[in-house]
Symmetry: C2
Subunit: 423 residues, 2 copies
């Protein structure tokens, strides 16, 4: 793992895939076809891309029950405990509607309403991601969303969805599940088909076709962020243990050859020891091939002159995940301005947050922590402003409002006030 000296012009190398023009054209044509032909298009694309001839687009009650039989009891208990932790954390994000009252009769306020319906995309591929299901469905559930839809491509051999995904969905409270993947699934969620009613917002990760389709339908429905490859930055001093820091860097690196793992430290000794540990631990990793490419291309250890400079580097990176592994990690928290999730101290390795602790694992990547937040309950609610003026309030303020309207050249605005004042 390369060790670099930090300098003014540093910019961390990250990978962002915005897709090719060709991919964009394919995605547009898939969406168009689904809008025209509905279910029939979904079945045709599933046959073409997943090699599965769907009988039912929806997962059946029997398939849902079967999933529970396939899953190990201990794993079920872990999924249930994780769901409980995640639910409990997100319940703390709830804010009520509120109002203010004034003696003159004015009431102002903010009404909080859950979205009517949301759709969660769950990627297919080699592994099942029940944690994704929990992290997307539970905030929507806590927010009060009535209709939560899940869609995911069927397994190319069995034609089914993974048992762990079906179990996590049911534990989280999502019962409407479809066996459709890719851009065609996003089109169905946005515009509806005979079987799948449209939703108001689409969340969840996916491959480049899914990402492009989400961009395409954005505006007609809402979407969550378009997630880039995963990132971790570890901020550490010489009290950190090199083997633990190395293990944490590799836990990101194994996700994806484009994942970005970075250590920032004022300790040259730690830098060298971590670099050596990374090489050593890589040797025995099952996903060694992925992790080593990620470390080679997007990994780096930055050595700074001071801890202040290291913190400044972290704020410029605005990493998705930040670990603070220093002598006094809590003291540094107030200096961190930009990070999606902050893991504090040596007993809080990042995987604690991926599955179990409670905070969401859907986090802003690629420096967008400068202006974006982890997925949360408010992403599944919206607000309406409330304005109630009494006759007295309008009399007191009407002429001022009319004058402001005329300052902006809007006479009809002024008259809408004055027609009432004159009575």
């Amino acid at each position: 793992m390369k060790i670099l000296k930090i300098n003014e012009e540093i910019s961390i190398k990250r990978s962002v895939d915005n897709g090719t023009e060709e991919q964009r054209v394919v995605v547009k044509s898939i969406i168009e076809r689904v809008r025209q032909d509905g279910d029939e298009a979904l079945k045709a694309f599933t046959e073409k891309f997943d090699g599965i001839s769907l009988v039912n687009i929806a997962v059946t009650e029997e398939e849902k029950r079967e999933a529970y039989k396939e899953i190990d009891d201990d794993l079920l208990a872990i999924i249930q405990e994780a769901a409980s932790n995640i639910r409990s954390f997100h319940e703390k994000q709830l804010h009520p509607s509120w109002m203010t009252t004034d003696e003159n009769g004015t009431i102002l306020g903010q009404k909080v309403t859950p979205l009517d319906s949301v759709g969660l995309y769950v990627p297919g591929g080699t592994a099942a991601y029940p944690s994704s299901v929990l992290m997307n469905v539970l905030p929507a559930k806590v927010a009060g969303v009535e209709r939560i839809v899940i869609t995911s491509p069927p397994d190319k051999k069995t034609g089914k969805l993974p048992a762990a995904v079906l179990v996590a969905a049911q534990e989280a409270g999502a019962e409407e599940i479809y066996k459709v993947g890719g851009a065609q699934a996003i089109a169905a969620l946005a515009y509806g088909t005979e079987t799948i009613a449209p939703v108001d917002k689409i969340t969840g990760p996916g491959n480049i076709f899914v990402a492009l389709a989400k961009r395409e339908v954005f505006g007609d429905v809402d979407i969550d962020m378009i997630a880039g490859p995963s990132e971790i930055a570890v901020l550490a001093d010489d009290t950190a243990r090199p083997d633990e820091v190395a293990a944490d860097l590799l836990s990101q690196a194994e996700h994806d050859i484009f994942a970005c793992s970075v250590l920032v430290t004022p300790s040259e000794a730690l830098a060298k020891a971590v670099a050596a540990e990374v090489e050593k631990q890589l040797l025995t990793l099952p996903r060694q091939n992925i992790a080593s490419q990620s470390i080679e291309n997007f990994g780096a250890i930055y050595v700074t002159d001071t801890m202040e400079e290291a913190i400044d580097t972290i704020n410029r990176l605005a990493p998705e995940h930040l670990e603070i592994v220093t002598d006094n990690p809590m003291e540094l928290l107030g200096k961190i301005r930009h990070a999606g999730a902050i893991f504090i101290g040596r007993n809080s390795p990042e995987p604690v947050g991926d599955y179990f602790a409670g905070p969401n694992h859907v986090l802003p990547t690629n420096g967008t922590a400068r202006f974006s937040s982890p997925l949360n309950v408010e992403d599944f609610q919206k607000k309406s402003s409330i304005v109630f003026y009494s006759e007295k309030a309008l009399k007191e303020n009407g002429e001022k409002i009319a004058a402001f309207a005329r300052l902006e050249g809007l006479e009809a605005h002024a008259r809408a006030i004055e027609i009432r004042l004159r009575k």
Copy 2:
């Protein structure tokens, strides 16, 4: 104004301008040029589009002082009172950082941090919009944003910004103001020039070139929504006064020939009376030409069989502005699921909220109230999740977390936990 019977298939006609391919190419080339040539490009484009040869890109201290001399004292007092109302409403939107603690030593939480910097675009043209300045700057200020930048095209004759805009900016607390408009201003805010340092988020309305430029830079910086033409829906029964309802519909219609003004009512008598009043009031409006085109093309009165059906229509419309002018307006509030701002009762005409009452006038248009909120303090803050596990907490939960990681095929995640458990 046309009177229509509501039916199953109704969809309100709205205008959305996504720009042409040609406009997109122009905008891309302007952005590219600003990224390359910085201030020089800004000056060249300002000369070309605004006919002004800029000496200073920034508004000078003298220009700021001059603005106060140009503005009427009464208007200044009204702007100050409006600013105070808006500030006070948005302060109620503030939520603190929070944490939870557990006996086993776990701390989980959510840290709230303001954005470092935001840029507000203020459109130029025939009228000045000080209310836009207040509505965009004050939430950012209340959120705690340290650097707030305003940019607006110089007047084609004087080369200056309108006095009312400069005064509103200073009253709201924004001192960094530039005389640049169009796509070039958005490029400068996103990527920076010698004079204008880049910001993290860009808000504010603008013409199609500004909107396309915001779409283009989105991702590198955050943007607010892309606003469509203004809309009002009035939900009324036969207790509403036709002249007042007509005046309110016209106050939207005068904004823009694409503005959308709709009355939904179960009362055929009201429908007819309002239609007649609209024609009558139109005759004396200074912006009659704009308002009549808007009413002709995008205005409608829908008559329903029942009040329930009228409410259902409103929820399907998800209007930007909703007025409820019925015998019992407060009783209907709980049934309204989708609206940007809700004005209750006959003494709360929509212009009350445009300038003065306190809630934001930047609202979701074109049906996006289904999933979007008024501009608010949280648009200028972001959250970071906090995870602190104690040694005890990691011991209690570590094996469960490792098992979940292995269920997803992520061995390095499991090892990052276990390397700590083994010690």
